[in-house]
Amino acid sequence: MLLQLTSDQENFRETTARFLTGRVPIEQVRRLRDDPAGFDPEFWRQGAELGWTSLLVSEENGGGTISDSGLVDLTVLAHEFGVRAAPGPLVPTNVVAAALSGVGGPAHAAVLASVLAGETTASWAYGEAAPHDRLGDVQLEVRVEGGEVVLNGVKRPVESAAQAARLLVTGRAPEGLTQVLVPTDAPGVSVEPMRTVDLTRRFGVVRFDDVRLPLDAVVGEVGGAADQVERQLQLAIVIMNAEAIGAMQAAFEMTVQWSFDRYSFGRPLASYQELKHRFADMLSWLEASHAINDRAAAAVEARSPDAEELVSVAKAFIGTYGAELAQDCVQIHGGIGLTYEHDLHLFLRRVTVDRALYGTPAEHRQRITTVAEHLKETA
């Protein structure tokens, strides 16, 4: 998160922080473990009133930002979610809202309004099943037949798939990448709930078996979605990274406090140089994570040419070092850090899920190389 927030951003952050602390304290997060949805729809609707769904939506479409950058505002919000391991479909809802606002047009205006109000949960169906589960591999088949669009294929993991009324599905038509907004109750759509390491996030496998929809279900142009899909990927990663950093921050602060409180051999843990040095490393990773994601957010907001590279750099770094930091926090806690009773695992879970979604660190490192190679060639 930025070091310097504007006073409006600070108010916004504060309001959401207070709301989350009141509505989803840690005990509530633990209770939601057994909740099929993982979040209370009324909680989400009230969050939408606080601005959780509007930041990537243009004013003409009923959205609005706090500062001059809605994405940066959203990273402030996501950070507060991460610090509390808070529930709610923050990433998928905002990505779909951004897409509908950007290229959805009048055909999807009603759905967008409902998503904005927090009444409809929407999610992005992007990743696919093995062997097509590598970053960027899209095989779900989309074809246009007369006045209809037909979908066949499998998407997974789709966040909040069973809770979502609409899915923005990324598929491949003969003309190229194509996106379709699919009602989850359409004939041929089936959702199989998945298990996951997170307590409150829910994922599903979504199968599309000859799903037929009117042509105006297409979002943007048939075959012309490549840039929009890249944009959605960048947005999703920046928001998710910000949330992961919040979780890193919480785990780190909790462990620093532990190191002062816990005594071994008559000394606090914080007095051991071996541990002090590891805390120093962790703080450098934490601040570096803040720094690189803020750079990525600014680049994506500005649609600058280095956005793709910075987003992958941020994802590769935070994916790797976020998990390392959380695991080292477990190590420094000792056995208690591995128990369900302790809160540390709530944050470990977050950074673990975030590390694997939307491309692993290794996939993003390779993507960075592709960008660097391209820059070399064009230089």
Binding site: L3, Q4, V256, S259, F260, P268, A270, S271, Q273, K276, H277, F279, A280, D281, L283, S284, E287, A288, H290, A291, I292, D294, R295, E309, L310, S312, V313, A314, A316, F317, A362, H364, R365, Q366, R367, I368, T369, T370, A372, E373, K376
Partner: protein, 423 residues
């Protein structure tokens, strides 16, 4: 200069771009002018000619109003902001500029002068520095104390209006072609170590200062050791109060840790880290391994560390400038740079394969990777070790208990040293 009178960053950027393109030489493809830890094939005369050329470039910048962007105008600077310096850095990429004389001359040396020097000292030296007439270096580390800088043994004894310095300093980059040095010396042996130090400035080339070039394991001879024998320094060349040298020294090392994030330093955005100035894409391509997925993973990791390091430096710089972070947070950037540059050197060596260990004369980028790997730890040692940075972060930023020490509360002359029997 008030904010109203100051040129805005974008118009400054345009002006700088126009001037740079019209007046500075564009670099050849692959040409690298950044200082690195590689030996050159140049003779001493040729090396001195390079330094002379850099002095001229600096003078050119001065005459055009682009030297010392963040130095006050009364000392010949431009009175601009770090944002102006950043814009200038972005524009200088791909063009020749006096890269070798940026550090330590402009920071930490000129930064320390600016912060602690008397008005006379500042007027005497800062304009000369900005004109390229004075190149400075740091007489800080000693053979007997690397990380423990405050345990300096070089002594300064007052005789009338003068101080007489004796001792030895080491790891001074380019001392043999530099003009002035800033020197930490012991002025009081009867108080604890931090309270008996003072800081002086002195010309390098004078009787009593013997400069010896040290040969590093890769053949580099830029680091020097100086032997000071009865060097006389006027009291007017003392920086800060007598015995309060640690106050100066703390800020001195802060400026040093700011690395290339210092607003007083011009640095090209193309400065690559750790591979000895080579791009990992080039190493991989020339090694014929750019299509291997594990090599692409390594190339991506190196680039990641480089960009994250830059972002971190910038965040820490802003944090310190705005008071959101304590000064000692500069150690975060230093630690990250040390850890990542060593990692990048390993990556380059692994990508190069056996060519990194044995090569012929024409094998380009992969050929040097083995030698760079040998020097790998330099980035985690020079400018304060990463272990010291970790101490600073944990103790000064996170406020964890300090390491026990045997020297803190006793007169320095009674502190045990190697070869002494006192304890």
């Amino acid at each position: 200069m008030s904010a109203d009178e100051r040129e805005d960053v974008e118009s400054f950027r345009q002006r700088a771009r126009t001037w740079i393109r019209a007046n500075l030489r564009a670099l050849e493809p692959g040409e690298d002018i950044e200082p690195n830890l590689k030996p050159t094939n140049l003779t001493q005369e040729e090396e001195l000619a390079v330094v002379t050329h850099e002095r001229q470039l600096q003078r050119q910048l001065f005459d055009a109003g682009f030297a010392g962007l963040c130095f006050p105008t009364r000392y010949g600077g431009q009175g601009l902001t770090p944002d102006h310096q950043r814009a200038f850095n972005a524009e200088i990429g791909g063009y020749e500029y006096p890269a070798r004389i940026q550090a330590p001359t402009f920071s930490p040396c000129a930064s320390v002068l600016l912060e602690f020097g008397t008005e006379e000292q500042k007027l005497a030296h800062i304009p000369a520095i900005l004109k390229g007439e004075e190149i400075w270096m740091q007489l800080l580390s000693e053979p007997s104390s690397g990380s423990d800088v405050a345990a300096a043994l070089t002594s300064a004894v007052q005789e009338g209006d003068e101080w007489v310095l004796n001792g030895s300093k080491i790891w001074t980059t380019g001392a043999w072609w530099s003009d002035w040095g800033i020197c930490l010396a012991r002025t009081n042996w009867d108080v604890p170590k931090h309270r008996g130090l003072s800081v002086f400035i002195l010309p390098i080339h004078q009787p009593g200062v013997a400069v010896h070039r040290i040969e590093m394991l890769n053949g580099l001879k830029e680091f020097c050791q100086e032997f000071l024998t009865d060097v006389r320094v006027p009291d007017s060349d003392r920086i800060g109060e007598v015995d309060a040298g640690w106050t100066v020294g703390t800020r001195w090392m802060f400026h040093e840790r700011m690395l290339y994030n210092s607003p007083f330093i011009t640095v090209s955005p193309g400065k690559t880290q750790g591979g000895g100035g080579v791009s990992m894409v080039d190493v991989a391509r020339e090694a014929g391994r750019l299509d291997d997925s594990y090599v692409r993973d390594l190339v991506g990791e190196a680039r990641m560390l480089e960009l994250v390091g830059k972002a971190l430096q910038r965040r820490v710089g802003e944090g310190i400038m705005t008071g959101k972070m304590v000064d000692q947070s500069a150690a975060l950037g230093r630690l990250f740079a040390g850890a990542s540059i060593t990692r990048i050197a390993t990556i380059a060596f692994d990508i190069a394969g056996a060519t990194g260990a044995a090569w012929t004369g024409d094998e380009g980028a992969p050929a040097d990777c083995g030698t760079t790997f040998l020097m790998r730890q330099a980035s985690s040692i020079g400018g304060g070790t990463t272990e010291m940075a970790r101490n600073v972060i944990s103790e000064r930023v996170l406020k964890m208990p300090r390491e026990p020490s045997l020297d803190r509360d006793r007169a320095f002359r009674d502190v045990p040293r190697a070869g002494s029997t006192r304890s």
